[in-house]
Symmetry: C2
Subunit: 132 residues, 2 copies
DNA sequence: GATACTGGTTACCTCAACGATACCGGGATA
DNA sequence: TATCCCGGTATCGTTGAGGTAACCAGTATC
């Protein structure tokens, strides 16, 4: 048996939402990370992706399937069982995701600090002219 | 004098729009690339970014300035002159952009082929059951 | 019969990004 | 007087990603 996914895997309040890098659509990178350890079921994916609605998860998975990032396997049992698994192509995104994570670890605090500093200082006149 | 930017630098019909990686907003990565060689003026940036409207370019640059990716320097001459330049933080995005470009070079054709193949094959029933 | 489980679907709505178009202010130049 | 240049603004409209809420089919179990 595979280990269950950690429900705290992704923090909804994490500043990564400010990260200037995005892989695929909003949830794509998180799905890839969830599938890194092996195939997962639909309901299983919903746990760490707190807040995702079934509609949006379906959309995300269908788009990823269309692009050859995941495969979908349905087992005719009941209750029904469907498993999603990364393809080689999908797995190739992991290096990119790692690069994005490294960038964030190294530079996101700087960006957030710049943003914070900017918010608290009113924008100066576009052209600084000598006072009359 | 710095070399002018190549008007053909970015192809509007380039499949990179299908690229599952995005840096910042739609134009951010292109602006970073334009600024790689040194400071550029507003009007100068509009050339390779064919089709960008001044409003959107302003929005993009303001957001980048807020996040500490570029600096804006206005010279009180006329006609007015304003120069945008990458900060160290902005420059740090270049490695990420290169990683994204490498991924695209290596894998985007595969993705596009998967997509093309998928479009031409109707989605099978979600659960394959034996025919009655 | 009622209820639960899985893996969805459907209709509707909201909001932000993006784009099209027009206009502006100040100085230099003709 | 008129026109051009530069670096923008102002206003409006479109589009699509994403979210909310409700519903569904088939089977099993109570």
């Amino acid at each position: 048996m595979v280990e269950p996914l950690d429900p705290e895997m992704f923090d909804p309040v994490c500043p990564s939402s400010a990260m200037p890098i995005q892989i695929g659509d909003k949830w794509t990178a998180m799905v890839v990370i969830c599938l890194e350890g092996g195939p997962r079921r639909f309901t299983e994916l919903r746990v760490p992706l707190r807040g995702i609605t079934p509609k949006v998860l379906t959309q995300t998975l269908r788009a990823m399937e269309r692009d050859g990032l995941v495969t979908r396997t349905a087992y005719d049992e009941n209750p029904p069982r469907v498993e999603y698994e990364l393809t080689t192509l999908g797995r190739s995104l992991l290096t990119l995701i790692d690069a994005a994570r490294s960038w964030s670890r190294d530079h996101l605090p700087t960006l957030l600090e710049a943003r914070r500093a900017h918010e608290s200082t009113p924008r100066p006149a576009l052209l600084q002219r000598p006072a009359p």
